[in-house]
């Protein structure tokens, strides 16, 4: 096959012989084999100068575990990738990784990967050959299929780079405008507010310049934005000449909250009021650094301390302290995250919060402009939950005949009331490009197994580009483990070729990327040296630095029409479908390391739990390990309780990620999925799904069990494991030396 030959040609050039997964003269650890002639040794077919059996070689690539686009180095020994580390060259992660990046290898080597194309025959998915699969594709979406382009849809996760170009090309070729980009964990509302108030969707957050970070539910170390980058910046923020102070306001303690100097839960959904109250106090005292028009001032007047205390449940004294902190220790950085964004009033709350940045003069200081990747078609198409709602509507309205899914799992993430699973039945032909048998994939009619991030080519342009516009370059770290998987790009190319196009000249995705990267216009990259040198440089670094376009921020005050959410006596509690670094939106539930890694706060493993405040737990008469039923208007889930004080007494947090009905041996049938019981409430201004707005009631089901968590005692019992000193002492002993 011609594809194969070209791949080989490349591999040879890279110096990475065709040993594949065979273990060349190596010692694969088994238990004890002392017998002579029991183990096999296989040599390389062709030797390569710097590949020595027994010595690992590091190759650069890009992480595909989330959308942040961190650079990776993968250790390859005897043709197997063993360990991933952050690439020090990457401006996004600076050599570091999070636990998801570390566990990329387990995604790649996952025992539950789909190894052959499958087609639905008589209700069941059955393995077929690639030839048959491609024939079927051609039959259903090819030129002779007579498919109506307008009735073709594609749903993906956040997508960027050349993959994005191919997807757009394909949909364009078919005449479809239905590209749904669904990402359960997103910052859509924040982005919209940034666009409206700052003129840039993804402004650069200079944690290192900030002396105070006031975060309203933004778990920026966990699942908000680019976590590894943010954590690196956070370290600078703490280690700077003056130690920065972090104040976190959120209904359930996230990892970021756990690191805060002051952690407070405002009544869920009232964070906007709190922000306005702080703004009002600041303006009242004349501490604001930027003038505020009288119009806005008038709105703010209603938010006096007494009212705000009543609405938010946060003591006036604390509000005053936060306000004075912002003024005394300017510049600051004020952020808003999931628990604020995903309320019915999310946009207005975030806008109120952004107002603080504007009046304290943070814009242009701690909030700066980022460079954008110059080629718009390759920029990240960032997903949200709005597209999920649109998809659900299109499905129920029977507007789609063909649906392609890639890198997202709407059947798992969509609330039950949206009836995505049922809606899929209305689609005549569903094609899933997938590595794993997840819920969406198994609802498809044709399943095309794709390469893992460690086997495939690709380019990734991160949405958040903190230090100049770069493109992450993803290259195979080893030969495909399974012989019947194919690259996503390769399949897209062959789909494009069905109708004949400019892409016909490329043998495979690799040659397309190579040609494209080597022929980037000089407006994007400054190329020095020969093409071969450039290409080798890309392979070596794993990133392509480009000339980004930067547009300065234009701060603009908008009217804040904040309205707190109404109370609900039938469902008194707020459901917090919390996400965490690691499990993300549930896509990593099939990775054993992630399942076994305890939640950062509750320390629970291998399952679901519900976090409750001791007050509420006492009211309900439950303790750790007891089961409760969490009921919303749209359904209910039953899970064990973990009681701690890091949660608002009126909130119950059920983590997202578990409760898979499919998705391989590690994920299937484990825990519950709180997303399923969400009410279909929309954030009013952006149309996103307000995932934090669902109200629930909690009842004890009088069943108990042992909560499987790490750690015996929850407190140090007088031991000196973690000691705490005040920052004034710290300032004296370490910063002034």
């Amino acid at each position: 096959m011609s594809v194969k030959v070209n791949r080989r040609k490349f591999l040879k050039m890279l110096g990475w012989g065709g040993a594949g997964t065979a273990l060349a003269g190596c010692d694969m650890p088994t238990t004890v084999t002392l017998e002579e002639g029991k183990e096999e040794v296989v040599s390389y077919l062709m030797p390569e100068e710097y590949v020595i059996p027994g010595i690992g070689v590091w190759y650069a690539s890009t992480c595909t575990q989330c959308e942040a686009g961190c650079g990776l180095h993968g250790r390859v020994r005897e043709g197997r990738v063993l360990k991933l580390e952050g690439s020090p060259d990457s401006p996004i992660n600076h050599g570091n990784t999070c636990m998801m990046g570390q566990s990329g290898v387990q995604s790649h080597y996952n025992p539950d990967r789909i190894t052959a194309p499958m087609m639905r025959k008589g209700g069941n998915l059955q393995a077929i050959s690639w030839e048959d699969a491609m024939a079927e594709l051609s039959k259903r979406v090819g030129p002779s299929s007579g498919v109506d382009g307008k009735r073709v849809g594609m749903v993906t996760g956040t997508i960027s780079g050349h993959q994005s170009v191919l997807v757009s090309e394909l949909l364009g070729q078919l005449g479809s405008k239905n590209h749904y980009v669904h990402e359960q964990i997103n910052t859509s509302v924040w982005r919209t507010v940034c666009r409206d108030m700052l003129g840039d969707e993804t402004p650069k957050l200079n944690f290192d310049k900030a002396r105070v970070v006031l975060s309203f539910g933004a778990d920026f170390m966990g699942v908000w934005g680019s976590p590894v980058h943010n954590m690196g910046e956070y370290a600078k923020f703490r280690k700077g000449a003056e130690r920065g102070t972090l104040v976190q306001i959120e209904p359930k303690m996230t990892m970021t909250g756990a690191n805060a100097d002051l952690w407070l839960p405002a009544n869920p959904g009232t964070e906007g009021a709190l922000a306005l109250g702080i703004a009002n106090f600041i303006i009242d005292r004349g501490w604001n650094l930027v003038d505020v028009p009288a119009r806005i001032r008038g709105t703010l007047k209603q938010y006096d301390l007494v009212t705000v205390e009543k609405v938010t449940g946060i003591e006036a004294e604390k509000i005053k302290r936060i306000a004075s902190l912002l003024s005394e220790r300017s510049p600051s950085l004020v952020l808003a995250g999931a628990s604020v964004e995903n309320q019915e009033n999310g946009y207005d709350s975030v806008a109120a919060i952004m107002l603080l940045n504007l009046i304290m003069g943070n814009v242009g200081n701690t909030i700066g402009a980022t460079a954008k990747f110059a080629e718009a078609s390759m920029q990240a198409k960032q997903g949200g939950t709005k597209d999920l709602l649109l998809l659900a509507k299109a499905l129920s309205d029977k507007k789609l005949d063909v649906l392609l899914t890639y890198n997202t799992n709407p059947v798992f993430t969509a609330p039950d009331v949206l009836q995505v699973q049922a809606g899929l039945a209305n689609v005549g032909f569903k094609v899933a490009f997938s590595m794993f048998p997840d819920e969406t994939t198994l609802s498809a009619d044709l399943v095309l197994p794709i390469h893992s991030g460690m086997e495939d080519w690709g380019t990734h342009v991160a949405a958040y580009q903190p230090e100049g516009a770069v493109m992450g370059f993803q290259q195979p770290l080893m030969e495909p483990i399974h012989k019947d998987t194919r690259g996503f790009g390769d399949i897209m190319l062959s789909l494009l070729k069905l109708r004949g196009s400019d892409f016909a000249k490329f043998d495979d995705y690799y040659s397309y990327i190579q040609t494209s990267l080597l022929n980037m216009p000089s407006s994007i990259v400054t190329s020095t040296g020969s093409k071969e040198e450039t290409w080798n440089g890309i392979l070596q670094n794993g990133i392509v630095k480009t000339k980004g376009t930067t547009t300065p921020l234009v701060p603009k005050l908008v009217d804040v029409r904040y309205k707190p959410a109404a109370n609900n006596s039938e469902y008194p509690m707020h459901l917090v479908p919390s996400a965490r670094l690691g499990m993300w939106d549930g896509r990593h539930a099939n990775i054993p390391w992630i399942q076994e890694a305890p939640d950062q706060i509750a320390k629970v493993v291998w399952g679901s739990w519900a976090e409750l405040h001791p007050k509420k737990a006492a009211e309900l008469g439950v303790k750790n390990g007891d089961y409760v039923r969490v009921t919303s208007a749209s359904g209910s889930v039953e899970t064990q309780v973990y009681v701690h004080k890091g949660i608002h007494p009126d909130a119950i947090a059920v983590p997202v990620g578990q409760g898979h009905e499919e998705y391989g041996r590690y994920a299937k049938g484990r825990g519950v999925n709180p997303l399923k019981i969400l009410n279909p409430i929309m954030e009013k201004r952006t149309g996103e799904l307000a995932t934090y707005a669902t109200r629930v009631k909690v009842t004890s089901v009088h069943k108990t069990g042992r909560l499987v968590k790490m750690g015996g005692s929850e407190v140090q019992v007088g031991r000196k494991f973690v000691r705490t000193i005040s920052s004034s002492v710290f300032q004296r002993t370490e910063k002034e030396v």
Partner: protein
């Protein structure tokens, strides 16, 4: 009645031939209860063997052990059995040296108990090893690899101490049986005759043999006493040498020795009642002997209680916060029930031994002795488990109650011990015939002499009333000589 007669532990009029006949008969036709006990023991052992096979195959996790609880009941049971072994040494060696005659009818089975409880104890370090097939690495043998065990480790000391103690106590048991073997050789037929013939090592009972025998026996007894004390001190150093709260205690060696003697005595009481019943030994294992055993047990119980309280006090007034916390946790935490069981059984129950009526009531003594044993078992458990459950590191605090596998093996060890013991008493005389004869002989003499003295005194008295004068038999003071 005179003191001698009142305290006499056996009917001195027993004929020697009857002693032989009775003891030999006991080896031939015990009561049915014996067979029941044997069957129960075999069943228990069978459970343990099955559990151990499972554990061997799948790993120590099947015992429910986990990160804080690296040791649990296996080690507690090990210490328990080691402790029990001390009674035999106490009865036969210590009491032998101090010429306590009443030990004679019961020391044989106590010695057997020593050997068998050591054999039971010795199994536990093996059961508890993760890789038991490499057990021999603990022994200092000349290895091809040129490596040695770590002589600093108390576990290596254990290996030495236990094997030495086991071989010495087995030897002591065997030596003590030689004259009885000869009796059995002379009174049995068939394979038994051959069997005992080999074991009696050509005993003829001449003077030279008796003289050598006595010397050897005394020598071994003297050797065994310090050994017994050192063994349990070494076992205690498994704990005392560590850094853990509740283990790192200076008084552990005497405390362990006292506990050992205590549980040994309690076990003797149990077996006393059992054997007395099984083999119709009422004439040999008399209530007077039981009384003496009870008094001894009570004394040791008080020593143990004292040492235990001392330990608490030292912890309480000491400045080791971890120790103190642990003590409070023991008394109030998840193990509180077990802890108070130990206090009750170990410190309160022995006071029942103060009552003569109870002491002479065999069923009560069976219950009391079992309670004491239970107390001593949970004492060992209370040493091992709470320290691990609530040590320095609160993050790893955990309470463990064991799994079926662990319990099965622990129970099975009683079956194993019982089996060995029951086979022993069936195969060998559980009452030392020659020593009982000696006892009767001495007793008869003592009584005769006393009678004699009495008569003399009566005569003298009569003489005195009749008109006084010197004793016709001369100096009465010489008679005792």
């Amino acid at each position: 009645m005179s003191q001698v007669i009142q305290d006499k532990v056996i009917d001195e009029k027993l004929e020697w031939s009857r002693i032989n006949a009775d003891v030999i008969a006991s080896m031939q036709s015990p009561r049915r209860a014996y067979w029941v006990a044997l069957a129960v023991c075999i069943a228990m052992l069978f459970c343990a063997v099955a559990a151990e096979i499972y554990q061997y195959k799948y790993g120590m996790g099947s015992a429910g052990l986990n990160n804080p609880h690296m040791w649990d009941m296996y080690i507690a049971t090990f210490v328990f059995w080691i402790g029990m072994s001390h009674a035999g040494t106490l009865l036969s060696a210590i009491l032998h040296i101090i010429h306590a005659q009443w030990r004679k009818p019961i020391y044989r089975f106590a010695e057997a108990m020593t050997t068998f409880s050591l054999m039971t104890a010795g199994i536990f370090p093996m059961i508890h090893l993760g890789r038991v097939w490499n057990l021999y690495w603990v022994l200092p043998y000349v290895s091809d690899r040129g490596i040695w065990p770590n002589f600093r480790s108390p576990l290596v000391w254990d290996a030495f101490a236990i094997s030495t103690y086991l071989s010495s106590s087995a030897l002591f048991l065997f030596i003590g049986m030689i004259p009885d073997m000869a009796i059995l050789r002379d009174h049995t037929t068939g394979w038994r005759k051959k069997f005992y013939g080999i074991l009696c090592l050509g005993w003829r009972g001449d003077d030279r043999q008796w003289r050598n025998f006595r010397r050897t026996y005394m020598l071994l007894a003297c050797f065994l006493i310090p050994l017994a004390i050192s063994v349990h001190s070494i076992v205690s150093s498994d704990f005392a040498m560590s850094i853990m709260p509740g283990w790192h205690i200076t008084t552990f060696p005497p405390y362990f020795v006292a506990g050992a003697l205590y549980s040994g005595c309690a076990a003797i009481m149990t077996l006393f009642v059992a054997l007395r019943y099984f083999f119709r030994m009422e004439e040999y294992m008399t209530l007077n002997i039981m009384e003496k055993t009870c008094k001894l047990t009570f004394a040791i119980a008080m020593v143990w209680t004292y040492l235990n309280l001392i330990e608490f006090a030292a912890t309480w007034y000491g400045h080791n916060i971890y120790d103190k916390e642990l003590l409070i946790d023991k008394a109030t935490g998840p193990y509180a029930a077990v802890f108070w069981t130990m206090i009750f059984c170990g410190m309160v129950v022995p006071f029942t031994l103060c009552f003569q009526k109870l002491r002479r009531h065999m069923p009560s003594m069976l219950v009391v002795s079992i309670l004491l044993n239970l107390g001593m078992y949970v004492e060992r458990w209370m040493i091992v488990a709470p320290t691990l459950a609530m040590s320095h590191q609160p993050h790893q605090w955990d309470v463990l109650w064991g799994t079926v596998i662990q319990w099965a093996i622990v129970f099975g060890s009683f079956g194993w011990f019982g089996l060995l013991f029951l086979i022993f008493v069936k195969l060998f005389p559980c009452v030392s015939m020659y020593e009982v004869k000696e006892l009767c002989f001495h007793l008869k003499h003592e009584i005769e002499e006393e009678e004699h003295e009495k008569q003399h005194a009566a005569k003298a008295k009569a003489g005195a009333t009749a008109g006084g004068g010197a004793s016709p038999a001369g100096n009465p003071g010489l008679e005792g000589a």
